[in-house]
């Protein structure tokens, strides 16, 4: 419409004069040095968990030629992380340019002060609460559910978008559902699978492990073969048509050939896959019929699908063994980017376009299946292989994104890699013989983490080859890494030191109850929840609060800070806690009031135990960490800074994550938000 008006005006002398005058005015307003946006390019490569000490070692060893090339053209420094240094918290600092008091993500998990129960901090699924009850288990839902992103604060790409900067945000954590904006974005860490969980695999086997029911993050399904055929179902989302919330299932039939060590797997209505023992399939569609076989009878299927009552996911299958015992692993069923049951991108159809062009890909926030390794379904080699497939896929997408970006005149691109973080968590015991979980088997894979560094170096090489001289290239990580040798049961210490009272202090009760069920809240003053959070049971805030807000609370905090920093591990003689951060000191912003009262910064080689994080009370205060999850970063923040490498000078001597946010906006000449606390590093 605008261009039409301009074309018409060309034929009128008055119009020409107007245009000339207007053009002159615009030219004057946009003279050099003024605020007109400069058409520049910046790419930020986010490498979750890249540790500066490890990076320096690998640089010195000559493994990282492209990093060296990038550093030679600019600078390499450490990047201050968040308190606590947990990924969702750290990335939210980066996204919003604020500390947790501004974005309301203080830990992986928060607690409801009414119930003291933990919940996932980053997003919340809200189902439809209105329905009409029908016969049997049927109901008719009168509305759809929704998922809410619990991160507060404005994302930096919303500012870029408002400033007209073409922006692409690829898989940034703590962004599910993706923040509404015109920018192209794909949701990252926090994106659930089709069950609505962070990732639940399915394992079909004729020989379930004894502790199958205790495996978290996966479902083990016992099957049997009748004349070569077994049947089962891949669990899916809760069925909104079931009053009991019964899960929908995708039927699966398995035909095995024991002599040839092969199997044919038939999914749903007929998708067929043939695998040999040890092979992975490509992505295959997994269809759930809400009125289907497992819910309400297979005969309804043909009617249900056209009514839109089928939802689609995708999965990859891995045939672990055919005989004598059969084992088939199915990845957590992903939201299909080509046909998303929930939006995973902005615009909604961007994931569809990507999928059409580049093939299907993992949409789950954390696709490396550490749960299958921890649950004993994968051995180390299998986990490394699966995580390697994730990295291969991410590299393919990265190369495509970078090549697209190279064709753009200007704009901003963020791209995220999760592999280093996940592999270092799981495989620290592979290159550290001193780790309690290191053994002959794990040490066979001593090069696994350095190999990830090398792959990420290749990624930086791609960016340099395509963009050097044309764009500002930023490589950063949200935090570093440390070994995790010893776990501390902080809640047990609180209980044994009179800060927390148990209803039943017997050993049996302590070891069997979870989620704080054994806590006598009316006689409790403090409790730990999450990996680093420590709460005072404040009267008027917590349901059964016992400590008065104000002076009494502050005195208790002071007392705990002193005592916690003096806790000595009787086995090692080391102090387990390096620092205790008082929220009143380190958080600012509208949501600081929801923070834990303290954050525990563990010392090197220590971390809070998973049991304590979820409200359990083992007898001992300390234990060896013999689990597969052997490296971590949820310790004192100054022990695990991230990295920052830029192909230009960095003037800020101690940059932190939220400084990078201000840097991006200032780079494009966009004023930072009023709540942002950082300053440009350039």
């Amino acid at each position: 419409m605008v261009s039409l008006k301009i074309v018409k005006s060309w034929w009128k002398p008055a119009g020409i004069a107007t245009l000339l005058t207007g053009g002159l005015a615009i030219a004057m307003l946009t003279s050099p040095g003024e605020a007109a946006p400069e058409k520049k390019k910046m790419v930020v490569i986010g490498l979750d968990g890249m540790d500066p000490k490890q990076l320096r070692e690998h640089l010195d060893a000559g493994y990282m030629p492209n990093f060296r090339r990038l550093i030679a053209s600019g600078e390499f420094t450490t990047l201050g992380t968040s308190i606590p240094p947990q990924s969702p918290v750290a990335w939210s600092n980066f996204i919003t340019g604020q500390n947790p008091g501004g974005h309301n993500i203080f830990d992986f998990i928060h607690r409801d002060p009414e119930t003291y129960l933990p919940y996932l901090s980053t997003s919340e699924a809200v189902g439809s609460d209105k329905s009409i009850k029908l016969w049997g288990d049927w109901q008719l839902p009168l509305g759809g559910g929704e998922v809410i992103n619990l991160r507060e604060g404005k994302a930096f790409w919303e500012y870029l978008d408002e400033g007209g900067v073409p922006t692409t945000i690829f898989k940034i954590p703590a962004n599910y559902p993706p923040t509404e904006s015109e920018a192209r974005s794909l949701s990252g860490m926090g994106t659930p699978d089709m069950q609505g969980t962070p990732g639940t695999f399915t394992y079909f086997t004729t020989h379930p492990p004894e502790d199958a029911d205790d495996i978290s993050g996966g479902e083990v399904i016992d099957i049997y073969f009748d004349r070569g055929v077994a049947k089962g179902g891949i669990p899916g989302p809760g069925n909104p048509f079931s009053q009991k919330g019964k899960k929908a299932e995708c039927p699966i039939r398995i035909y095995r050939d024991e002599e040839n060590k092969t199997a044919k797997i038939v999914l749903g209505d007929g998708e067929e896959v043939l695998l040999a023992e040890g092979e992975w399939s490509d992505w295959v569609p997994v269809e759930y019929y809400m009125l289907g076989e497992e819910g309400f009878g297979a005969k309804v299927k043909p009617v249900a699908a056209p009514m839109g009552l089928a939802i689609n996911g995708i999965a990859r299958l891995y045939l672990r063994s055919v005989s004598p015992q059969f084992g088939l692993y199915v990845t957590p069923v992903q939201i299909d980017p080509a046909n998303p049951a929930q939006p995973v991108s902005t615009p909604d159809n961007w994931s569809v376009e990507l999928s059409d062009r580049l093939g299907r890909f993992y949409t789950q926030g954390m696709p490396e299946d550490s749960k299958a390794l921890e649950g004993g379904i994968f051995d180390d080699s299998e986990y490394i292989h699966q995580a390697g497939m994730v990295l291969d896929e991410r590299m393919m997408l990265f190369e495509a994104m970078i090549r697209d970006f190279a064709q753009e005149e200007w704009g901003f691109l963020f791209f995220y890699f999760s592999s280093l973080d996940q592999q270092t968590h799981m495989m620290w015991r592979a290159f550290d013989p001193n780790h309690p979980a290191a053994d002959e088997e794990s040490l066979k894979h001593s090069d696994v983490v350095v190999n990830i560094f090398k792959r990420l170096d290749e990624a930086v090489g791609v960016a340099l080859d395509e963009l050097e001289g044309d764009a500002t290239i930023v490589v950063m990580s949200d935090h570093g890494f440390a070994p995790w040798y010893r776990e501390m049961h902080l809640n047990s210490w609180l209980a044994d030191n009179g800060y927390l009272t148990l209803k039943d202090p017997s050993q049996a009760a302590r070891e069997t109850s979870d989620f704080f069920m054994n806590v006598d809240w009316k006689n409790t003053r403090a409790y730990a929840l999450g990996i680093n959070g420590l709460y005072i049971n404040v009267r008027g805030r917590e349901k059964f609060g016992t400590v008065a807000p104000g002076a009494e609370r502050d005195e208790l905090i002071e007392e705990l800070v002193q005592k916690l920093k003096g806790i000595e591990d009787p086995v090692t003689g080391m102090y387990a806690i390096k620092e205790v951060y008082k929220s009143d000191d380190v958080y600012s912003g509208a949501f600081a009031k929801y923070a834990p009262d303290m954050n525990v910064g563990y010392a090197l080689t220590y971390r809070g135990s998973n049991e304590s994080a979820l409200g359990e009370f083992p007898i001992e205060w300390f234990g060896d960490n013999t689990g597969k999850w052997s490296g971590d970063h949820c310790i004192a923040e100054d022990l695990v800074p991230g990295i920052l490498i830029v192909n230009r000078e960095i003037t800020n001597p101690n940059p932190r994550l939220y400084d990078l946010t201000a840097t991006i906006l200032e780079f494009f000449g966009i004023e930072k938000g009023p709540d942002m606390i950082g300053a440009s590093v350039f």
Binding site: R227, G228, V229, Y255, R256, D257, N260, K261, T262, A263, K264, E272, V273, L274, L275, A276, E279, D356
Partner: protein, 272 residues
């Protein structure tokens, strides 16, 4: 019957092959235009043109009547009844020519379906070959030979209770290949196509009857009484885009043939 089907298929091979190097919708549009033109002529000579013209005139007249006498409810109702009856008459006049054109149109649609509904495999892609045999044969005895250009990428899965044996094949090079499948001294072939050109492809080959061969014209049926019941694999769906949008070939065919038919009906002098 097969020689006739084969001749018709060869005709379409030749016609669509003329546009082999062009966008898939070029050949499809030419077939659609020719179909529209031929069907229009067939319609002309198989329908009662005068009666159709009269029925259409009556419908127009009654519609005018409805518009003109809007205040007279009695006349309105009568005109609507007459328009409805005239419409029924018109539809009844359309039935004989529709029956005449239906069979050739179905045959054309089948010819287009085997070319545009799915696409050949691309090098690197895999498919699952499923061989169904009669109850008298052990599926474990079935053997498969593949030519260079196709690879067997896993040992077969033999499923005696289903009388079935499955192989996973991987396309390696472009070309048209015949797989050789043998059991009990009998060998049959199954054509597999690799490449990106528009060509006829058949997912299945079975013991089709005389009429059914019209619905599976890309490959000769398996002889009756064979030890093989059916041989099949899947080709990927063809996703053809025009101006950035995926368009199903059936939509293109109907829109182009109908629009062209309506465009030239005045020239040909046909009442539709």
């Amino acid at each position: 019957m097969w020689p006739i089907v084969k001749a018709v298929t060869a005709f379409f091979d030749g016609l669509i092959g003329l546009f082999g190097g062009m966008h898939p919708f070029v050949g499809l549009s030419v077939v659609s235009i020719l179909t529209g033109a031929v069907m229009l002529v067939v319609w002309k000579f198989t329908s009662n043109q005068k009666a159709i013209a009269a029925a259409k005139s009556k419908i127009s007249a009654y519609i005018y009547e409805i518009r003109i006498f809007q205040e007279d409810m009695g006349l309105q109702m009568a005109a609507q009844r007459k328009a409805f009856l005239a419409n029924m008459k018109y539809l009844s006049l359309a039935v004989p020519p529709l029956i005449v054109v239906l069979l050739p149109v179905v045959a054309i649609l089948v010819q287009l379906d085997v070319r545009y509904e799915r696409r050949p495999l691309l090098p690197g892609e895999s498919t699952l070959l499923k061989v169904m045999v009669s109850e008298s044969v052990d599926p474990g005895d079935v053997t498969l030979e593949v030519p260079a250009g196709i690879a067997i990428s896993a040992l077969p899965v033999r499923i005696p209770r289903e009388h079935e044996v499955d192989w996973r094949l991987r396309a390696e090079n472009e070309g048209e290949y015949d797989l050789q499948i043998t059991v009990a001294g009998e060998t049959v072939t199954k054509r597999i196509v690799v490449g990106d050109k528009i060509t006829k492809i058949a997912e299945g080959r079975d013991q089709a009857g005389i009429l059914a061969v019209w619905l599976a014209p890309a490959e000769k049926p398996i002889p009756k009484g064979s030890a093989f019941q059916a041989i099949s694999f899947q080709y990927p769906d063809r996703d053809t885009k025009a101006w950035g949008y995926s368009l199903h070939w059936l939509l293109v065919f109907f829109v182009v043939s109908v629009l062209f038919g309506f465009a030239i009906k005045g020239v040909v002098g046909v009442e539709v």
